[in-house]
Symmetry: C2
Subunit: 362 residues, 2 copies
């Protein structure tokens, strides 16, 4: 492992800009004292925050940019007006080899479009996928695509599988990750055509990971699979639904525990347990998604996170850079495409009767 | 409201067959003493259970069937071999007007295929949608399609909206339900083409419900929308992901509360609160989905539920039959199709630039 030295931060991204990015960077520096920071954004706003962190200030270079991508900017607008923004600056630093990775808490669509333009994609990749961390009963899983694109071809789903496995290896140190395709049933007859085609291929391919077949939505959180692969529409809905359900139950729990004096006393006594629960479901620990398929590392932090969450996002980029994920993926993707071509030529497309399309089980 | 009198039950469906269906029917009879039951399945197995419920036995007619649809049968196989099964018998009773509705806990795909064949579909409906109940902080919402089919056209999404609203009215008594389309972002630029087209139409149509635009996965559980509309792949994944997340947090909570002697004592004191939590998240209360778009009422109970859950499913059918939902939908669907034709002729299809397809926000 070659430890990364320089990283680039979009200091203006997210709901709180430098007031979260700078303290987040300071936390990352504590963990990795060798890091050096390229900070992109409005110099006065950044320096105001840096005053409180002299050690970070000593290891930072501020690159002033006048403009910032609005959090509600359309991707097409962000592309036209992107040059000269803090987000663009951070990505350029990665492209030019001045930084090992970039982190931004800015607009997802803009970051996706801009990083594709600035960093370009890896061989055979047209549209990168957004990979997110999914808290589970065991180790966190990687789920992709969680919303970079709508729809994915069978071939794209196979590349997502490969890239997700590489991320699982980089970020969680898993040697031979297990990978499943998200589907509406575990029987082979079910699911969308692209998913079934990808399934048929993955079963045949010689892969640097363990393909385990289909997984349904209720099993993602069980932590039985390291990487869950899906197209971006259903992936985004799955991720957001899990977030929403988690909040919903937290509301139920709060209301239930304050329903009487006795439950309040009980809850007070059990506060150590509630602290454990809170820690296990703390979204800051799982912050940091990334666009896989780019020729460079761009990490997307949640826009509403705090310094602890932002430091988690930096940690994801650190792990990916340290393991040389881009170089490895460049090789592996070429090999995978060749494998798919070989297998696809030898087998007919998956088929089914129209009646068997119906029914999602349960 | 005309109270339904006869209902037909597939006594063999689900993981436990008559040992859940019969006690479930007995619970429903307590609530609605005027009901009469047509029970389809193996006579000895049914009668063995009926002995324990003499009042139910007095109001039941057992129709013996030799065969049963296996819980893992493919829909196409179920169709070929369906005639003479307990599921088929219950559906035929609805078709012939001998029962106001049918309930089965059997194989979803088989029930879908068979009810489409036996009951036929309503005007303009090719593929019915599976509508499920979604527990929320407020009243339960209706979500459809949760897995009857993969994919849906814009026109189908509009009919789902109408049918879901009718169900919300029938089952929860809501006069003018609010309806949203599930999407990956709330900005107008985002989402699949069909979803955007349906959105454009619904905004223009003269509807018997309140169309409220897009909703994201994390908002379904907030109870701010009565009916959430989506195609079956993402809908099934959303529903299962919510179930899985709920179980995952229950596991966390159990582990947290047993982590020390003090938390155990606290949890014991707070047991009244935990009972409230359990009740609010009890899946049996929300059991009972239905295939909307059929010319008759067929309720799908979860295969693994108990008598309380099965009685909930009967209650859904009861509400739908009592409000004459089929007659009302037959009229409303014809009107909706005419409205869509009018609006579609007057407006061009929704468009966007390719860059704006990217990005799911957050």
């Amino acid at each position: 492992m070659a430890e990364p030295q320089f990283l680039a931060l979009d200091a203006m991204g997210g709901d709180f800009g430098p007031s979260v990015v700078i303290p987040g960077a300071a936390l990352a520096l504590k963990k990795h004292p060798g890091l050096q920071f390229l900070l992109y954004g409005r110099q006065p706003a950044i320096e105001e925050q840096l005053h409180a962190f002299p050690e970070l200030a000593a290891r930072s270079l501020v690159h002033h940019t006048d403009s910032v991508i609005a959090s509600d900017a359309k991707p097409s607008h962000a592309l036209r007006r992107g040059k000269g923004t803090s987000m663009w600056g951070a990505l350029e630093a990665v492209r030019d080899g001045r930084a090992a990775f970039a982190v931004s808490a800015g607009n997802t669509g803009a970051l996706m479009a801009m990083s594709r333009l600035v960093l370009r994609t890896l061989p055979g990749i047209d549209r990168p996928a957004l990979a997110g961390q999914w808290p589970t009963i065991g180790n966190p899983s990687i789920v992709l695509d969680v919303g970079a694109n709508i729809g994915a071809t069978a071939r794209e789903l196979c590349t997502f599988a490969l890239m997700g496995a590489a991320m699982s290896h980089s970020v969680f140190g898993i040697d031979r990750p297990t990978v499943s395709l998200l589907n509406v049933g575990t029987e082979e007859i079910k699911g969308a055509e692209e998913v079934k085609q990808a399934h048929a291929w993955l079963k045949q391919l010689n892969l640097p990971f363990e393909y385990r077949g289909y997984i349904e939505g209720d099993k993602i959180g069980q932590g039985i699979i390291d990487v869950v692969v899906c197209e971006g529409f259903s992936g985004n809905i799955a991720l957001k639904t899990a977030e929403g359900t988690s909040k919903q139950i937290a509301t139920y729990l709060r209301e239930a525990m304050t329903s009487s004096l006795v439950t309040k006393i009980g809850a007070l006594l059990a506060s150590g347990g509630f602290a454990i629960l809170k820690r296990r479901t703390d979204p800051r620990r799982f912050n940091g998604g990334t666009f896989l398929g780019l020729n460079g590392i761009a990490i997307k932090s949640h826009g509403g996170t705090d310094a602890i969450g932002f430091a988690s996002a930096i940690e994801v980029g650190y792990g990916m850079a340290a393991t040389g994920i881009i170089e490895k993926l460049t090789e592996d993707l070429v090999a995978l495409q060749a494998e798919i071509d070989k297998v696809a030529a030898a087998m007919p497309p998956a088929e089914q009767t129209s009646d068997d399309k119906a029914g999602a089980g349960g």
